[in-house]
């Protein structure tokens, strides 16, 4: 015969008919049980406090040889709360119901209480149906029979289910450490304490002084959740279950160690217990649960109470053999059981963002700590990404706060220094970043800035300044350059990234970027801004009206791009455009290698994409000559001509085997477009034409004449002439000043 155990104080209560139940939830459950094919109602009771008890037999679907002894029929009791504030309790009444995991600790051992759900009752109420609850009981029994209730990817059960609060600890802690603790918050009967190891010079009261004793228990197979101990005696009992004798292994030796150090006698003890939990006895993965047990009375008070120490002539001494140790007195000392947390760190940041050290360890110099730069920097800080140097000579002004990542207390201070302080505070690491207030173009401390920049692996330009980008491109450092900036309307983010080998430098990338704007119709408005069309760049203007939500989106995209870029060593050119409804479109363009030639007193740079187009056009028109207009840009200070794009032979051009007349059909309109699309950065720079196979690349008499014509016109506007002749075997020649 199967034996059953009743809930305490219920055996004497008389059973009633199901109709007499009052709580709606009970009635619903009883109705379901009565209809259910695999349930049979046994009895109902109304308990003195108003709760209602339903007892019934249930048939879970279990196999003949289960891993845990769950029977074909189990007797279950449901205890329904009068006010429906707590979830109904469910008990398995069989006397020999096995001790399995997912049971709740009650103040009585049997009948066993089943832990059915891990979600709060409020969440369940939305789709509450009695049938679901009953089926969950069946499912619990079925899975427990199979020992598969706890999913293999589910975190292990916590050891205690009713902690009184939390304690936040430094990363590195050792047994015997002194901690300074502050109560920071109390809410809903839970309190929060933060602990620091910092030496406090000031004479604080000893109220906040604690001594921390750190101990690890033997490995423990996770399972029954227990209630937290309320006194030191409860702690002793709990630790006994975990394989440690609290009094002999911890209390006596640790306290006695402090006997000769009276400065610590008034400190209160915290017992930090670490329990290595295993999923089951076969498992090798260990999860550590760390709980802090805080005493509210000092080491001295406890030691005196248990006769560990005696007070004689104003001094404390160890126990005399004649005075018996009164271990049980520890029941007089209340404790709080707290969950423990560790202060944030860079390694935690990396871990919580699902990254690894290899992906995040990189030295970056951030040039430009403005709206975009500051938001990028803080995003990446939270991910534990990078060690940073920040260079910006601006001071934070009030209006900056509309888009800057800093806050009011930093107004009036150097942006870079304040950013560094804030970021270091986030990851709790003084070495995470350092801010310098200086200007990259005109540094006040050039040697210092140079020394700092030369240590960086990536030079990240977020200055939104073409001169900065140019200087950076030509500066002496070997580091990889990456430039990130917004377009004038703030609707797009541009990333120009060199490869590690720096084959194509930032300035050349900029030119290929302009070509992308010319070739991709959807990007024609990219550099456009309301009002006037500006030369050069954009977001330095105070009157910019970019919206913070756009900058946040783009800074996010830029952050991801940097993380990805760090692992991938080749160059990249990307434009992300936001559209009105929040969508983002990516325009990505392959980066082409460049040819750098000296011609006359100029350096001429042309990339392979353009060259290929020219050669292709030449070949397609053979045996006739062909040609076109060259478009590009100048760096007058460095005497560089960049060939960016071409307008291939306009339709009214005349092409002959030994002559070429470049036409003008559609050219004026196109020139206007080019000027608008590139915001004036790309313009007419010269002409190209092809020579037939076998002909040399030297200038013919006609070519000379043409070149003279170019010279006159270009000189009159202060530009050099440029003529390119394309020949066979992919050879070409450039003529300039």
């Amino acid at each position: 015969m199967v034996k059953y155990v009743n809930l305490p104080n219920t055996s004497d209560v008389a059973a009633i008919s199901a109709d007499s139940l009052l709580i709606p939830k009970s009635k619903e459950l009883v109705a379901c049980i009565s209809e259910h094919s695999f349930c049979e109602l046994i009895e109902c009771k109304i308990l003195p406090e108003g709760e209602e008890l339903l007892v019934f037999d249930i048939e879970p679907q279990v196999s003949q040889a289960p891993k845990n002894d769950i029977r074909y029929v189990e007797r279950i009791a449901i205890l329904v709360d009068k006010n429906d504030i707590v979830m109904p309790y469910v008990f398995a009444l069989r006397e020999d119901f096995p001790l399995v995991s997912h049971l709740n600790a009650m103040h009585f051992e049997k009948p066993r209480s089943l832990c059915l759900y891990e979600i709060p009752y409020e969440d369940l109420k939305i789709d509450w149906r009695a049938i679901l609850f009953i089926e969950r009981i069946r499912e619990w029994l079925e899975l427990t029979a199979n020992d598969s209730l706890h999913q293999s990817n589910q975190p292990l059960e916590p050891l205690l289910n009713d902690l009184q609060g939390r304690l936040i600890l430094p990363e590195k802690i050792n047994n015997g450490d002194s901690l300074s603790i502050t109560l920071t918050n109390t809410h809903n009967n839970k309190y929060t304490l933060i602990a620091t190891e910092e030496e406090v010079q000031v004479q604080n009261s000893t109220d906040s002084k604690f001594k921390m004793f750190y101990h690890i228990t033997p490995e423990f197979e996770h399972g029954v959740i227990k209630t937290s101990p309320k006194t030191l005696l409860g702690l002793h009992i709990l630790l006994n279950d975990l394989g440690i004798n609290f009094i002999e292994d911890i209390l006596k030796p640790e306290f006695n160690r402090l006997l000769e150090q009276p400065e610590f006698h008034d400190y209160k003890p915290i017992f930090l217990i670490v329990v290595p939990k295993k999923r089951d006895h076969k498992s090798t993965d260990i999860v550590y649960e760390r709980i802090a047990f805080v005493s509210f009375k000092s080491i001295k008070e406890i030691s005196l109470a248990v006769n560990l120490w005696v007070e004689a002539e104003g001094m404390l001494a160890a126990l005399f053999p004649q005075q018996p140790f009164e271990g049980q007195k520890i029941s007089d000392f209340d404790i709080g059981a707290l969950a423990t947390y560790t202060y944030f760190s860079k390694s935690a940041a990396v871990l919580y963002n699902g990254l690894n050290l290899e992906e995040t360890k990189v030295k970056i110099a951030l040039i430009g700590g403005g709206a975009l730069g500051s938001q990028l920097f803080l995003n990446l800080t939270r991910m534990g990404f990078g060690s940073w140097l920040i260079l910006d000579d601006d001071v934070l002004l009030p209006h900056n706060l509309a888009r800057h990542a800093l806050y009011n207390p930093a107004v009036g201070y150097s942006k870079s220094v304040a950013l560094s302080f804030l970021a270091n505070g986030i990851v709790n690491d003084r070495k995470h970043s350092q801010g310098f207030q200086d200007n990259y173009l005109y540094p006040t401390q050039p040697q210092l800035i140079d020394a700092q920049l030369s240590e960086a692996e990536i030079l990240l330009d977020v200055s939104a300044s073409i001169p900065v980008a140019r200087k950076l491109a030509f500066d002496k450092f070997a580091s990889r350059r990456v430039s990130l900036f917004l377009n004038p309307s703030g609707s797009g983010l541009v990333m120009l990234a060199e490869s590690e080998e720096r084959n194509v430098t930032l300035d050349c990338l900029e030119m290929q970027y302009y070509r992308l704007l010319l070739r991709e119709p959807k990007l024609n408005d990219h550099l456009f801004r309301e009002g006037t069309i500006r030369y050069g760049n954009s977001c330095r203007d105070i009157s910019g009206r970019m919206k913070q939500h756009n900058i946040a989106i783009l800074a996010g995209i830029g952050s991801k791009a940097l993380v990805d870029l760090n692992m991938q060593k080749s160059s990249a050119m990307n434009i992300w455009e936001l559209n009105e409804n929040g969508g983002v479109q990516l325009f990505s363009q392959e980066v082409y290698d460049v040819e750098k030639l000296n011609s006359g007193s100029w350096k001429v740079i042309i990339d392979h994409h353009i060259l290929n187009e020219i050669f292709k056009k030449r070949k397609s028109m053979l045996p006739k000559e062909t040609g076109g207009i060259l478009l590009g840009a100048y760096d007058m200070s460095r005497k560089i001509i960049y060939i960016v794009d071409t307008i291939l032979s306009p339709s009214d051009s005349k092409e002959y085997p030994n002559a070429y007349y470049r036409g003008i059909d559609g050219v004026p309109e196109r020139m206007t477009e080019i000027h608008e699309i590139t915001s004036g950065n790309v313009s007419y720079i010269g002409e190209w034409h092809s020579h037939p196979d076998g002909a040399s690349l030297n200038r013919s008499a006609d070519d000379d004449y043409l070149f003279g014509w170019l010279e006159r016109h270009m000189h009159s506007i202060g530009r050099p002439p440029l003529m390119l002749i394309a020949g066979d075997q992919n050879k070409f020649q450039i003529y300039t000043d």
């Binding site: 015969m1 259910h36 094919s37 695999f38 048939e59 879970p60 679907q61 279990v62 196999s63 003949q64 040889a65 289960p66 029977r71 074909y72 029929v73 149906r129 049938i131 679901l132 089926e135 069946r138 199979n146």
Partner: protein, 371 residues
């Protein structure tokens, strides 16, 4: 390993069990299409239930004996080799027919028993697609009496008690079948119940689940089976995890006395139930609901509540279950008892409950209309 499924159909006091092996083969144990047109008849429509499950052919069909409640309607359902009128293309084929010798030897066979006899005889004559369960020497005598059947040519089709049925092994099919009955019997009269096919099937799961199919065997024969088994030290062949109770829980399969409230079985049968049942084993009674004391049904026809009371005791003793087909899951709407046997779970009795509305969508609602 896959899953083997054993299904017991709710047919009142009649038997049909289907074993679906994990390799796709089907063994059918008896066939009784007993459902009537009566709206209150809760027994299932066997042909349509079977056809839902078995799309093509039955690899093995065993008729344990030729009583109506084990063969009813089979000649309307199966494709029979011996006459064209049983051969339209909707019928299901029987790849191998198993019958006890009594089917062939019954000179008074009538109606469907006669058809079964003809089918068995035809297949035996063709020397193919049949196994006859009996003592070989008894069969020899019968063969010698036949003009057109030579014993030597067909003796490989006879299966003797105390042996495994050839053609099925644990390695190839996941099952082996040990034959307990019919065994040596000198009686010249055909006693169908006394000579039905009784087997123990053993599956290849981790628990080597053992299923005893008891047909309509009376207690006298059970006593003999137990004694013979013990004599040959084959006790393990009478172990069981699932016992298909004989004769619809009639007390006569336990003892000659019904008992007032609980039947007290004969010693040998006590041994069979009380020592040979594995822990948490199950007993299946293919029968009407167990009658309450003094109710109309509480009389001479099985199931007998006294026998049921005994079986309940046995179940409690091994923390197992005693299930009645017409009571499962409820008397008001019985459904087939389905047991799954698989590598990890050993035997699991399916007890599924529906909680979502999706299945309602796939049902035909009753007619809607103005009146």
């Amino acid at each position: 390993m896959g899953k083997h499924i054993v299904k017991f159909y709710s047919l009142g006091n009649a038997d049909t069990s289907l074993i679906s092996l994990s390799n796709g083969k089907y063994l059918l144990w008896d066939y009784a299409n007993v459902k009537t047109e009566d709206a209150d008849d809760k027994r299932i429509d066997l042909p349509s239930e079977l056809s839902k499950e078995v799309k093509e052919d039955f690899d093995f069909v065993c008729f344990t004996h030729a009583d109506t409640d084990h063969i009813k309607g089979f000649s309307d359902y199966f494709y029979l080799e011996h006459a064209k009128k049983y051969q339209d293309e909707n019928r299901k084929h029987i790849n191998e027919l198993w019958v006890p010798a009594s089917v062939l030897m019954d000179t008074h066979a009538e109606d469907e028993a006669k058809i079964l006899k003809a089918e068995a005889r035809h297949r035996l004559k063709s020397k193919d697609k049949i196994k006859v369960f009996s003592r070989p020497d008894k069969m020899k005598a019968w063969c010698d009496d036949q003009d057109d059947i030579s014993y030597d040519e067909v003796k490989h089709l006879f299966v003797d008690a105390g042996k495994l049925v050839p053609g099925l092994t644990k390695d190839t099919d996941g099952i082996e079948i040990f034959v307990h009955s019919p065994f040596a019997s000198d009686s010249k009269e055909i006693d169908r119940n006394g000579e039905c096919i009784v087997v123990q099937a053993e599956f290849n799961d981790n628990c080597t689940t053992k299923l005893i199919l008891g047909a309509d065997t009376p207690h006298e024969v059970w006593i003999d089976i137990v004694n013979i088994t013990k004599h040959y030290k084959h006790e393990s062949r009478l172990e069981w995890d699932v016992f298909h109770i004989s004769h619809h829980s009639s007390y006569l399969s336990l003892s000659d006395e019904k008992g007032k409230d609980k039947t007290n079985p004969k010693e040998e049968i006590k041994w069979l139930f009380e020592t040979q049942g594995n822990s948490r084993g199950r007993m299946i009674s293919s029968s009407k609901p167990i009658p309450a004391k003094n109710s109309d049904a509480d009389g001479n026809q099985p199931p007998h509540r006294q026998a049921a009371a005994y079986y309940e005791d046995v179940a409690n003793g091994i923390s197992g279950e005693y299930l009645v087909t017409m009571e499962y899951p409820t008397e008001s709407s019985p459904e087939p008892i389905v047991l799954e046997i698989d590598e990890h779970n050993c035997t699991k009795l399916l007890k599924k409950v529906v909680t979502s509305a999706t299945y309602i969508a796939s049902k035909n609602p009753p007619r809607a209309g103005k009146w």
